[in-house]
Symmetry: C2
Subunit: 306 residues, 2 copies
Amino acid sequence: MKLLVVGSVAFDAIETPFGKTDKILGGAATYISIASSVLGVESGIVSVVGGDFPQTDLDMLSGRGVNIEGIEIIKEGKTFFWSGKYHNDLNSRDTLVTEVNVLENFDPKIPESMQDAEILLLGNLHPGVQLSVLEKMHNRPKLVILDTMNFWMDSALDILMQMIAKTDVISINDEEARQLSGEYSLVKAAQKIHAMGPQFVIIKKGEHGALLFHEGKIFAIPALPLEEVYDPTGAGDTFAGGFASYLAKKEDFSFETMKSALIVGSAMASFTVEKFGTQRLEEVTETEMIERINSFKELTTFEVNV
Amino acid sequence: MKLLVVGSVAFDAIETPFGKTDKILGGAATYISIASSVLGVESGIVSVVGGDFPQTDLDMLSGRGVNIEGIEIIKEGKTFFWSGKYHNDLNSRDTLVTEVNVLENFDPKIPESMQDAEILLLGNLHPGVQLSVLEKMHNRPKLVILDTMNFWMDSALDILMQMIAKTDVISINDEEARQLSGEYSLVKAAQKIHAMGPQFVIIKKGEHGALLFHEGKIFAIPALPLEEVYDPTGAGDTFAGGFASYLAKKEDFSFETMKSALIVGSAMASFTVEKFGTQRLEEVTETEMIERINSFKELTTFEVNV
């Protein structure tokens, strides 16, 4: 097992200017592990679902080579459910429903088969739960990647700071980086977040791409300009999944490899937004993925001789 | 004469979170031509100032090799003056004072020495004035670059559309591209703007970089992440100046050269914002400029092998 993913496996109901869905498969760990499988990287999920979670979805994941041994099923419980409506610009959304359900008392249990994971990717969850995962690992994984959000900065900052101190790579968006650091300049924000623990700071800027900071060095990528974004749900998780899986595949955590991993994550995320939910990501072939990565090269490559 | 610049030569009084200035040298044509001189490209300005405009500023420009024969001085008039205050995030600003003065009845006169310009860069002015310049050229320049803004979309759309139809390269920001096209997706917006005339569409995104669209191809660059932006005034003009001057230097208007020109423009603009007004841009050495361009390469270069 290369990559251990701890995060939600859930239901989403989504409305965008292009349409709406009933309850469909969602959750950070779901997007992350599907992205891993596209890259041919073995991942395992630690999560919890209710008795209402369809066997077909579990079968889909294990059919893709995802280890689902760590997905606890609480028969009498209900699966986490989120419903949201995106505004016309798709950059902002209103949450309509959040039913935390079985995630309320989530006590992650790490199967023995997953104890040897080299990379631990902690999807957005209560930082106390994220910390408990790290404590339950027999050995610290070589790389700990943390995804979090402003909600935990508002409600559980102390324990979040403890979690961040134990993190190698943190992935947050620009507004969250500003909130966490109290700095408007993202360069200064990254410096302050470095000082909290992580050697690598990824700042996601949605349609404007992402920045990677490490020891005074900066790498910047644009997002692939798309004619339409149908549904941004899961894009950040897919990005994290592609990023972590590329590192797992290369077994190298240098700045140079992280740069490539950022491209792979962005390429994967550009698929996710093309259809609702996990639909498009599930269809991606290796050829398509390579083409998409080449598009990034074309998008950003230049020569200058002044 | 390689590059003919038509635009304001003016006074600005600027307030940012880092300080404030009295009336200092400003204006689109000023920034553009200083950028040209840094790149060693001969430019000429067509503009108008009042009797209050200091000879020292004119001397500074001609000392840099800028042809100032086309800067009309209306002795009894006053120079255009703008005063603005930037908000804390430096992404938005309030205009405190706009005194149009001699620019109100600006009737551009193109000296014979500038009639052979290969590139015409039309800085942000009333589109009627921009059109009149094109009519006054004996021969159409090889490349017409247009800068404009939402103000003219609101107040003079018909004549702006006539001007856009005669433009090769249009440079506008993301919000303006959306307003002009009625499309939120910048890819779709660029398609619609192509259909209005320009073969090349540059969409500026401030701190998020810029996009270049041409015949279905896209090139994207990030802005150089800076610790502090002291004063964004003139950044867009400097960008346009660096862009146009690089093309003038290379005497080539292919997509590949335009890509490089975008990098050069961004590199130049990254200097302008480091101090108030034209101060930093005036100090830039060739070595610094080459270093800055190399920083862009480091910022964006990657290798991926999936």
